[in-house]
Amino acid sequence: MEPLSWGAIAARILLQFLPVWIALAATFGLSWVYRSKLGLYGKLFDNRIGLIGLFLTLFWVYTALAAGLFDWIATHDPLTAVSGMKNKVPGTPLRGAEDGDYPYYLLGGDGLARDVFSRMVAGSWIVVQIAPLATLFAFMAGITLGLPAGYFGGRLDSVLTFAANLILAFPVILLFYLLVTPEIVESGLPAYLSAGLFLLPLVFLGLLINARARTNPRRRWMLLAVVLLPLGWAYLSLISAEGSALDLLPATLDLFDVPGGILVVFVSVIFVNAPTVFRLTRGLTLDLKTRDYVAAAQTRGEGPWYIMLWEILPNARGPLIVDFCLRIGYTTILLGTLGFFGLGLPPDSPDWGTTINAGRKLLSIFPHPAIAPAVALLSLVLGLNLLADGLREESLKD
């Protein structure tokens, strides 16, 4: 068979993404119809920059979901090498293709003869699994600590701010190296850190419910039990793994196991992001606690946590949402950095950072294995940044 021309490669790639196009069309169609009822999200449709950002972000989210959950889009297995396909240029026909195999390597083969296109698609699933969740946890941790620091001030504030500045003064890469080395994983430090960091969201939700339903004891205990018991179980199964430093649950009760490497990556990313969120929340709280509605709530006799979580936090949501979008992008960059230095993730993992690192060795002769993931990462982060920009503009309008 002849190698494909660039036009034919582009056409085939577009066709391969068909499920994503359908999902995108459905999302945008429905959102357009109901945009007047969707609040801030609906207003994005008046903003070209934000719309482009939303498109890029959703494109990668749908790609990841289609590839990760249904095994669509990818043309080959991201980990299987096919002999004779090493460093082949984009559009090379697959050697020894059988019936049912996709007959081409659309974006060529990498240094280990694997399909670059499929690895790029599979890499999106890793990013979409880790980045938003890690950012969410970082936000919960940062908010849970930042609200009281800003609201109470005093010594608590000084101690927490000092700790946050301490982490921020650390070179990020050194921190990653320190947390990810096998000796330190062995000592159990990441496990303890994760136990602490993953506890904060539970504390956050507990305080949130408790502050609201405090006056109604029956409702309070019921709500707390309904929310915290399953989450507590999930928390215990998350942090306890066989053979690690924390083995709390017996194996029969352990719901799921997160592979050790992924957990360490998760923890390091949360650990790096949380101080910045803390500083942002603290600053917002310092500003908002002087408002009249806070004084009104204090006069009503509301508790400090009610004021923080139900009066101040909802009013701080605008900057927090914008920062959330930006921070997912930043987390994606951090994940790439980890992969680039070969930290945490397994060496054959198809995530973008690892693939870029593997591809850069032969960059001056065969650039395609490194460029495909580089462009993918760039477009996702760009999408998130544009989305954040659009959200900021629209939220400032009213």
């Binding site: 650390f170 950095t337 230095f341 850069r360 002769i365």
Partner: protein, 347 residues
Amino acid sequence: MILFLLRRLGVMLLTALCLSLIVFALTNLPANLEKIAKFEGNARMSDAQVESWLEKNGYAQPMLVRYGEWLGAWPGWTRTDETGEYGRCVPVGGTIADSPARCGILQGEWGESRVFREDVGPFIATRLALTGKMMFWVMVLMVPMALVIGVLAGMREGSKLDRGLSTLSILTTATPEYVSGVILIAVFASSAFGLKWFKGTATSAMENATFENFFLPVLTIALFGMGYIARMTRASMAEVMTSQYIRTARLKGLPFREIVLKHALRNALIAPFTVIMLQFPWLLNGVVIVETLFNYKGLGWALVQAAGNNDVDLLLGISLVSVVVVLLTQLISDIGYVYLNPRIRIA
């Protein structure tokens, strides 16, 4: 002002101490010490031999004592047996009586790198000079570019020029160094595209930096930092352009050029100044990636080598240096802010 400075310096010292203690603790875990013993002694040592080696070489003391030794606040360990006198501060074949009691950071003894077999102090000094050279050119390229883009975009908010330049700066902030570096090398230095304008490595730039071998790494770092500074400048410029005194100037009939250059610019540049100083920690991060990518043997490259090989003394030295750099730039940005903005006065 003096009191403020003193307090900031105190916090800085405390931060540096805490951070070096954390790094010290994390690099001196029992598993790490065992690795050191096997590296220095013999790879096939038994557990008992490892223990006796650690005992003989002062590693068996409590962690805080050894941290004190490293810092130079605590007297170094000594040991006398039939083969001679040994100690942290005793040179091979020397005697305890002739050697200083303390040798640590405070005495200017940074220890020895286990991987490079060199004294850490001069080693870091050479690396720092190389990285400083790179940072200087990054600043020379990045700051004017960012300020021009920011001012041009912010002077007429909402115009086509503003839209274009803002999107450009978002694009550069969304491109981490390992992505832009890879793309730049592929386009400008590889045979695949045929444009072999620059070199893909900067190893030769360490002695003899030329435009050809140094431009790509410098551009890679500058691009990532530029977008953020440009956006800050744009926001600051846009705010100034809506202020009352600019309106007065326009109503007086001054030409737009003069308003921008003479009236708006000075006030609009206060915010970017602090941002530029606060960019330093991020730039340090970028330096590590770019030095690894372009094989330029500066501080970032040394950090990766030290961290990858658990080279304790070198790692501690580098983290101390980078933390001090970060804290100093924060201090300078605070002071500069006060000087530039007369509305802020610190008692």
